[in-house]
Amino acid sequence: MGEIKIKDKEVTVPGEVLAVGMDYLPAGGAFRDKEEIIASQVGIVNISGRLIKLVSLNTRYMPKKGDRIIGKVADIGPNAWYVDFGFYNQGAIALADGSLEYIPRGADLSQYYAVGDYVVAIVVFVTRDNHVNLSLKGPGLRKLSEGRIIKINPAKVPRVIGKEASMITMVKNMTECRVIVGQNGWVWISGLDLVKESIAIEAINLIDTRAHIQGLTDEVKNFLEKKLGGKSGVQQEN
């Protein structure tokens, strides 16, 4: 028989004992050391039955196959583009992965994507020593031309997207902006109305700083209603 030493949704620090006993299973940033389940990061504990999951509040982005990310072209080689995307290594996009269209060998790569361009790409492969291959071949993957890029902590990405994309869909609909949230924490926002675009950015930053609070969806909804209230011409009676 074991014992849980911490309350659900409580903040924890590395080394803290979360539970004692072999009945419990660690997940996320929690790990087992003999009889104890211990936190390895600063984060929030989610207890569901016997599963003790630690969700980190601040994390370094670790790319994995299938992640959709936003990056910036930093360098162009003879047969590849090299992209910064918040990881300590650059991602490489090979010639063949550059586009759904055929790119001939010897072509001027900067005609497709130049240094400084932002792109939405997918992680194809991560080698043992963390070299990353990216691809722009796929639906929705492309160079980004208008809009703005902001950076949030990768740990907050699931919160910004929300359960079944509920949070991000709410932000998009209410501010009438297009938004792409990269798994690396880089976010692209583009709206026809620049004021609403700024409000969308404020809302996403709000989620980033308040990700550990419950009832965040309502808080963000109220924030957007208040900020947009005047913009769409609807007067608020206080």
């Binding site: 590395p14 080394g15 990061q41 601040n58």
Partner: protein
């Protein structure tokens, strides 16, 4: 004349007042301030990031690089010469060794995690304050750690055991023994143990037991500071 009363009036097992805060350097991936008495240490963590020069890269794991420095105005008036000294290089090295056992850098081969420690004000216990701040900064940066690292000093003046040695005590005319220690709180594993002076085997053994208890007090302050950032 035995040392019956501490120069600053503290009890023999009394730690100086402590203060800690994390997230104070927004540019850094993680940061922290730790103050004990008049000693103030700032730590900033950047990484993992690409490591240059390349010959230092380790294909199994990331490396840790610590830079300990005392700011030019940190002493008691005389200007501290800027730049690395033999002492600061040694302290940087022991800081790395004190923090590494708590980290797991195998997830980031060929990278470096840079930890910058600056002493804003010094009144003894600087390497311990630096290690304590650095551990908080690494946790603040989101690194997976087996445990935090807490550091403190104990000492002997005229065979009397004192806790958290101050600068005046370090320079006590009749001599002093200074024992900095760093520990991982959960398991009690020691990651730094140095001694400057003389002590018998029994005295040292007693000193280590007391020092570990002091480190647990430091650990409480570290925990609170890390959690305070996410208070509702």
């Amino acid at each position: 004349m035995a040392y019956n009363k501490r120069i600053d009036g503290r009890k023999f097992d009394e730690i100086r007042e402590m203060k800690a805060q994390v997230g104070i350097i927004p540019n850094a991936d993680g940061s922290a301030m730790f103050q004990i008495g008049k000693t103030i240490a700032l730590a900033a963590v950047y990484g993992p990031r690409e490591l240059f020069p390349k010959f230092l890269q380790n294909s199994d794991r990331g490396i840790l690089r610590c830079y300990y420095n005392m700011m030019s105005f940190s002493g008691s008036g005389e200007r501290v010469r800027p730049g690395p000294s033999r002492r600061s290089k040694e302290i940087s090295y022991i800081t790395e060794n004190a923090l590494l056992p708590a980290l797991n850098l195998e997830d980031f081969p060929n990278s470096v995690v840079d930890v910058y420690i600056e002493l804003l004000q010094t009144d003894a216990g600087t390497r311990c304050a630096g290690i304590t701040a650095a551990a908080m900064a690494l946790a603040d940066a989101g690194f997976q750690m087996k445990d935090l690292v807490s550091a403190a000093s104990v000492g002997f003046i005229e065979n009397r055991l004192i806790v958290d040695v101050s600068n005046e005590e370090e320079h006590y005319e009749k001599g002093n023994t200074d024992i900095p220690i760093a520990m991982m709180p959960r398991t009690g594993e020691i990651t730094l143990l140095q001694m400057d002076g003389f002590a018998s085997k029994e005295e040292l053994a007693e000193g280590i037991i007391v020092a570990k208890a002091v480190c647990m007090e430091i650990y409480k302050v570290q925990q609170e500071a890390l959690k305070a950032r996410y208070k509702k």
